[in-house]
Symmetry: C2
Subunit: 383 residues, 2 copies
């Protein structure tokens, strides 16, 4: 086994999830994540934790959801008129597994990123909605998502497999404490701020962040951060006004999205368009009321991730980008007792900030053309 797989497993268990002896750990294994799962099982054994592995292969999900669908021979996702199946709400056995779990480690992988592309949209939405309590229980654990490199993901990134493996391990096997120190500066500014203004190209967006708490996402539950790799600072906007163009392409639910545009009024998406994948965007926005409001503003700060690979886990951490998610807000960003935006979805979309851009908090420029004000190359305010 590649030594880097063992290092990945050790960082996941120790730095990210902070697993203690006796912890009940669920390891979700995607098809193709076998080697990382074996390495994680070994580290969990060394830490005297308990282990249950679930098999979350996309092809199983696809077969199950298509069979559940009333209209399983219809692969046209845009057919919003078909009646979705009536899924049982939060089956008790799966809910109990997660409610009694301390840690949930998602090992993503897969052999085909389009494996679920022919699941009817209404079925997918209905399935999501039926699993709200399960999702909440999972998010109440010390959960961490990571990715094991496969040829399919390399293909999605347009990279050779070995080069993609190098990319993944460069992003994962980092000095996380040092990055956490750097990101703390931005967290301080956002925590004190009331309003964020993002300008670049067609984007001109105002976000209210009054009273919200930013997360210094340093790839560890100790930082309220649940992704490995990470390297972003994010918060939960309370309100949004203006327009945004997401010019970084990505794949959601097996479908390619390109140049998605949203217009916000009073926090709601009131108009949208996309060069590609508009039907998938429409499905997501129609999931529930919260799916039309923002759950997250994230600012990428990981300069170790130097290219888009069409995998949100990596792309959203890339320096010189910002991302917004429609749907569910993370509790860590909210004042105690306050519920933020609630939704069955959380879909991130990305905007390039590397050129001709300005990110301001309460009218003070924090980043210009991708450079933060504490970085070399930051252009002083001259406009």
């Amino acid at each position: 086994m590649d030594d880097r797989i063992r290092e990945h497993a050790a960082i996941l268990v120790d730095w990210s999830a902070r697993v203690d002896p006796g912890d009940n750990v669920v390891v979700s294994v995607a098809d193709g994540a076998h080697d990382l799962a074996v390495a994680v099982a070994e580290v969990l054994g060394e830490r005297d934790a308990n282990l249950v592995a679930t098999y979350d292969a996309a092809e199983l999900t696809r077969a199950y959801l298509r069979a559940r669908s009333d209209d399983s021979n219809d692969s046209d996702d845009s057919d919003a008129d078909s009646t979705p199946p009536a899924f049982d709400a939060d089956p008790a056995y799966e809910l109990a597994l997660l409610e009694k779990a301390d840690v949930y480690l998602r090992l993503d992988a897969g052999h085909n990123t389009a494996a679920t592309a022919d699941v009817p949209g209404p079925t997918r939405q209905a399935y999501r909605r039926s699993r709200t309590a399960i999702r909440e229980a999972r998010m109440d654990t010390d959960w961490v998502s990571t990715v094991h490199p496969t040829r399919s993901l390399a293909q999605q990134a347009g990279m050779a497999f070995e080069a993609y493996q190098d990319f993944v391990y460069d992003a994962v096997l980092r000095d996380w404490e040092s990055l956490a120190d750097e990101m703390a500066q931005l967290k301080t500014i956002l925590d004190a701020g009331s309003e964020v203004h993002i300008e670049t190209g067609e984007t001109d967006l105002w976000l209210s962040i009054e009273g919200r708490t930013a997360v210094n996402s340093a790839a560890s539950v100790a930082y309220d951060s649940h992704n490995l790799p990470s390297g972003e600072v994010f918060t939960a906007p309370a309100d949004a006004e203006g327009t945004v163009l997401f010019d970084i392409p990505m794949t959601v639910d097996g479908t390619r999205l390109q140049d998605v545009r949203f217009t916000f009024e009073d926090g709601d998406v009131v108009d949208f368009a996309a060069e590609q994948g508009e039907a998938v965007i429409a499905e997501i926005l129609d999931t529930d009321a919260g799916a039309r409001r923002l759950g997250e503003l994230g600012i990428g700060m990981n300069r170790g991730i130097d290219r888009v690979t069409d995998r949100i886990l990596f792309d959203e951490k890339m320096a010189e980008t910002v991302h917004l998610a429609v749907g569910r807000a993370y509790d860590a960003c909210l004042p105690d007792g306050e519920t933020g935006n609630e939704s069955a979805v959380h879909t991130d979309l990305l905007t390039d900030m590397s050129e001709n851009s300005r990110l301001a908090v309460d009218d003070e420029t924090i980043q210009r053309n991708g450079r933060f004000r504490w970085e070399e190359g930051f252009a002083t305010d001259s406009t």
Copy 2:
């Protein structure tokens, strides 16, 4: 996908497990069982059942158990002096998953039948003992074990892969109702009988079955039968006296067993030996008090299985064989309220009855040289 995989999945879900709409189904997926898992997911979707898939790859278990072991660098299974790790008893999350499940489908497969051969014996025993309630909860569901053919299993059987696939599907895709009718004859005899006498070669064994109920194992929970394929009639002996030679070789816990001999006195194994694998036999017998007593007498009646393939699921169903298991007895064989032999283990061992043999119930010959008395070729009592 091979149509036979879909047929296998449909028999498993419908004939064997009798899955109803809304059932909470756990599907245990071994490494290499992906295709069958996809087919099972599809059938479960069609039946409107719920699905949780667990990943039970032997390499995960091996990595976890070796890491838990105090002595994980010691691959010598015979080192009974090493202290086994202290496993948590029945972790609550896994127990809850199974207690709230209605159906448990085990899809066995694997890429290396020796994958766990270097797990220290005391660790394996301690792990088994720590999971008694989990095992009971699993056996309280409508559980069914089946096997998806892999190249590793073909190798174990000494067969080409395609020939092995044919073997498996010939055994699985059968007319189960018709076999059930045939097996009912033997069940009637065993239910009425008090004592079984098995004679062949070095074997001369007396078993008490007074008051016990035989199971007509027709590959369906409706017959208290939990294997697919099946095709045996089995009961739970209350007592045993005499000697038995298990002359059909097999692999247990990744170790080859050959010519195992047991001597019973008052139901206990008081002496044992093996040409090969004696250390593994010793470990099994030392697991707990019940591991030295019999939990099962099974009589193979499936003439569709015409060769030994070193997989207990198939071998023990083969016509012209009998098998005995040390360890746990099945509740279905016991009078209401009576507990039979209890143990953390249930290990089957096989004896060839095809030649020079006699199986009698209460001194009446039921089978001679592999032929039952209702079959053509049965030799009348002339000795």
